[in-house]
């Protein structure tokens, strides 16, 4: 125990409670008021589900939800493949330049999103401009930024996060069972599918769930690469709440918060299950 005196412990307890209150009060109020019968936010006029029902008629929100789900699913699948491969390479091998590779993989975690957003805007504009020249597209049927550019960007940062999460489960892994598989004549490919993957599956699943939630929530990078066809849910929410305050925005925001929280809890559950399994299999 670091704070030993009762007075110190009390102060630590009270200030922690205040911090947790600060972290949660706005979100709890938002969710609560998404059920508020009144249109004005300063009064509570009884419970209603009207705003959730109204979402079903908000065609822009529905369209953005579809785009978000496509982006999240495709970018998660891509990132799980690329990120797991990266993790295997980084954790299972020692090679020259490993430090540089590790720093590159850390880039999406630390790079300020605003810089990534505008540099991807510049990059995609240049590449798409070249493509239009090469393909001889006229202004009417020219290629533009849209769903594909959003997916490419999301795969990039999701790959980094999946790689980091999977590396942790590989580090807790007892290599003897892999070697046993190879000694029994299994090819590296067969060893991966029959031995390694089943053991690290919880870590991969956890990484996938985090990637799904990151993609669903991303705003800044998406904002710059969305073009006309790539408006995801956060982009649409941002656009609508800049224009007017509508109570159904509270409802859709609450849903988004709920889905991300659920994905995080499932990811943590998967990781905890994986750790338990690794412990029960490995030698003491």
């Amino acid at each position: 125990m670091i704070a030993t005196r009762p007075g110190g412990r009390l102060a630590v307890g009270i200030s922690s409670a205040a911090v947790y209150l600060f972290l949660y009060l706005p979100v709890v109020v938002l969710v609560l008021f998404s059920f508020n019968g009144s249109r004005t936010a300063s009064r509570w006029e009884g419970f209603t589900l009207d705003w959730y029902r109204e979402l079903a008629d908000n065609t822009r929100i529905l369209q953005a939800t579809r785009v978000s789900l496509v982006v999240a699913v495709v970018s998660t699948l891509g990132a799980v493949v690329l990120g797991t491969m990266l993790a295997l390479g980084l954790e299972r091998h020692r090679f020259r330049g490993q430090g540089v590779v590790r720093q590159i993989v850390y880039l999406p975690v630390i790079a300020p999103e605003i810089v990534t957003g505008v540099s991807l805007l510049a990059f995609f504009s240049l590449v798409i401009g070249w493509l239009n020249d090469v393909l001889g597209r006229s202004a009417a049927d020219a290629l533009r930024m849209g769903l594909p550019t959003v997916v490419v960007s999301h795969i990039a940062f999701n790959t980094a996060f999946v790689a980091l999460v999977v590396r942790v489960s590989l580090a807790n892994f007892d290599r003897a069972i892999e070697e046993a598989g190879q000694d029994l004549g299994a090819s590296p490919w067969a060893t991966f599918w029959r031995v390694t993957l089943p053991v690290i599956a919880p870590g991969v699943l956890g990484g996938a769930l985090l990637a799904f939630s990151l993609s669903l929530d991303n705003f800044v990078i998406t904002f710059f690469v969305a073009g006309p066809g790539g408006a995801t849910l956060p982009i649409e929410i941002f656009g609508q709440l800049r224009r007017t305050i509508r109570p159904d925005i509270n409802a859709v925001s609450s849903i988004l918060f709920g889905v991300s929280t659920l994905a995080l809890l499932l990811a943590l559950g998967a990781q905890a299950a994986g750790e338990r399994r690794a412990r029960s299999r490995g030698p003491a």
């Binding site: 670091i2 102060a11 936010a41 491969m85 590159i104 705003f219 809890l265």
Partner: protein, 295 residues
């Protein structure tokens, strides 16, 4: 070139197959675009967006020169300085608020209690920053729930939104989890016997705290501070939603140059300055990798 056996050659080929697709993807979307805007920052702006392929130092001149017409007041430098000062404030406030939380979590007797409190920090860490910032704006709005309660209690309503105070509150609110998690990782590794030894050698409580405890958690503090500083200085959502377009930070400035102002070279120049700052932060964080692992 050293001679390698067939086994080693196979291993190298396998490694290349595993690592190169992911590395290529991140290089194509993070490294190349950054190099591209580095190049753009030395070119001429084109009306309607993009660049003319003509070398120009105007972007850097605009960033460094004082504007004589505005009586030596350079708006870019002002916003840059403001972002850095506010990010510094935010970092300090986050440290002061996060330390007791890290201590409190560490002080729980059961693993389950510690885990539950950590998850309660991870939820705001992982969920949508846009939604959380919007929630704060909703709460603080002139006609929002906070003022509703104040009026109900008979107080005058307060105007918080679209002010500097609202932006700093928002910066602290969004960045706090990024300080708590690495700080907790550091606190959890402190050996309580070392603190006892400090007391046995005659240090009083505050002395033990400053001279023994703080140096022991310094690595986690560095990681948390770098994360919070970079995140806060580059915030776009918070100044936009809580500052109401009146209180701008670096990200608003960059967005403006790539948007309505159509000065991509200038926007690139500001972004490059920022990337340099971040690379510095990256080197600090990877040097303290163990604390970053909790994230």
């Amino acid at each position: 070139m050293t001679d390698v056996g067939p086994e080693e050659r196979r291993r190298r080929r396998r490694l290349l197959l595993l690592v190169s697709p992911g590395v290529a993807w991140i290089v194509a979307t993070y490294v190349l675009p950054t190099l591209l805007i580095l190049l753009y920052s030395f070119l001429t702006p084109r009306l309607g967006g993009g660049v003319e392929w003509r070398v120009s130092l105007d972007a850097y001149r605009t960033l460094t020169a004082a504007d004589a017409r505005a009586s030596l007041y350079n708006p870019y430098v002002t916003v840059l300085a403001r972002s850095i000062v506010w990010a510094g404030f935010t970092t300090a406030i986050c440290f002061v608020l996060a330390l007791p939380v890290a201590l409190y979590i560490h002080g729980r007797r059961t693993a389950l209690g510690r885990y539950a409190l950590l998850i309660a920090v991870m939820i705001p860490f992982w969920t949508s920053m846009l939604v959380r910032t919007y929630a704060l704006r909703y709460l603080l709005a002139n006609t929002g729930p906070l003022n509703g309660v104040l009026r109900w209690l008979g107080f005058e309503p307060i105007t918080l939104l679209n002010s500097r105070i609202a932006v700093v509150i928002g910066l602290v609110y969004t960045a706090l989890p990024f300080m708590i998690l690495p700080l907790y990782a550091a606190v959890a590794r402190v050996d309580p016997r070392v603190l006892e030894a400090g007391r046995d050698l005659g240090a009083n409580g505050p002395q033990t705290f400053v001279r023994v405890f703080l140096p022991l958690v310094s690595a986690g503090t560095v990681v948390g501070c770098v994360l919070v500083f970079v995140l806060s200085a580059s915030q776009y959502i918070v100044p936009t939603l809580l500052g109401g377009g009146k209180v701008n930070m670096i990200a608003n400035l960059i967005e403006l140059q790539f948007g309505d102002a159509f000065n991509w070279p200038l926007g690139s120049g500001i972004a490059i300055f920022f990337s340099a700052l971040t690379l510095l932060g990256l080197s600090v964080v990877t040097a303290h990798r163990r604390e970053a692992q909790l994230l």
